[in-house]
């Protein structure tokens, strides 16, 4: 079991109805964690457009998780 902080941005905040949550999980990488989180989502987001960051760095979907990581899920940027 590891302890994680999860951050949601933009419209993903609405899909998960929160901007931040903390959780205990046995998921070992982002892919598994995301599948686990989908059970709490109000709708299924377009996964291919989501970017992921661990501890303020963009990472791949197969990146490994470790205790106390902060994971962010980011919808497509719409600045400018």
């Amino acid at each position: 079991m590891i302890h994680l902080e999860i951050l949601f941005f933009g419209k993903l905040k609405e899909i998960w109805n929160t901007k931040k949550l903390t959780m205990q999980t046995t998921s070992s990488n982002i892919e598994e964690l995301y599948t686990e989180l989908l059970t709490k989502a109000s709708e299924v987001p377009h996964k291919a457009s989501i970017k992921v960051a661990i501890n303020d760095e963009f990472v791949d979907w197969n990146s490994q998780l470790k205790d106390n990581d902060s994971i962010a899920f980011l919808p497509p940027a719409s600045g400018g």
Partner: protein
């Protein structure tokens, strides 16, 4: 350098930073909050960001710009927080010896910032509704 700003963007100061006595050309892009977008009447909007990652990614884009183009100086500032109609949302300025590099570098920074920097636009329309806006092409 790439910055986020939660206050009005000071384009005159940014321009002064970008000027260079050996540069013959300066190209600047300013994006403003329009009174309409994608067919809806906009009342105001908010830009949310992931600040640490936004500044990191923005500066990565600026570094790539110096590598790819023969320019003197490049700056970009993006506004975050609540904006009114007519407020400046983004400023991009590039100085270079020649106009071609200045235009291309400026466009590169703007396009990359729009697609890569974690900033999201939430519009409030005149009908009272609000929503997250998808990137325009």
């Amino acid at each position: 350098m790439f910055c986020l700003s939660d206050k009005k963007i000071d384009d005159q100061q940014l321009k002064q930073q970008t000027l260079d006595p050996s540069a013959g050309g300066f190209v600047c892009f300013e994006g403003w909050v329009r009174d309409n977008n994608q067919g809806k009447d906009v009342q105001k909007l908010a830009y949310e960001s992931y600040p640490i990652l936004a500044v990191k990614e923005g500066n990565k884009i600026i570094a790539e710009t110096y590598e790819k183009f023969d320019i003197k100086k490049a700056y970009c500032t993006h506004r975050v927080g609540l904006l009114e109609i007519g407020d400046m949302a983004v400023w991009v300025g590039v100085s270079a010896a020649h106009r071609d590099a200045a235009y291309k570098a400026s466009r590169f920074i703007l396009d990359e910032v729009k697609s890569r920097v974690p900033i999201w636009k939430n519009e409030t329309w005149t009908d009272g509704e609000s929503g997250w806006v998808e990137q325009e092409s």
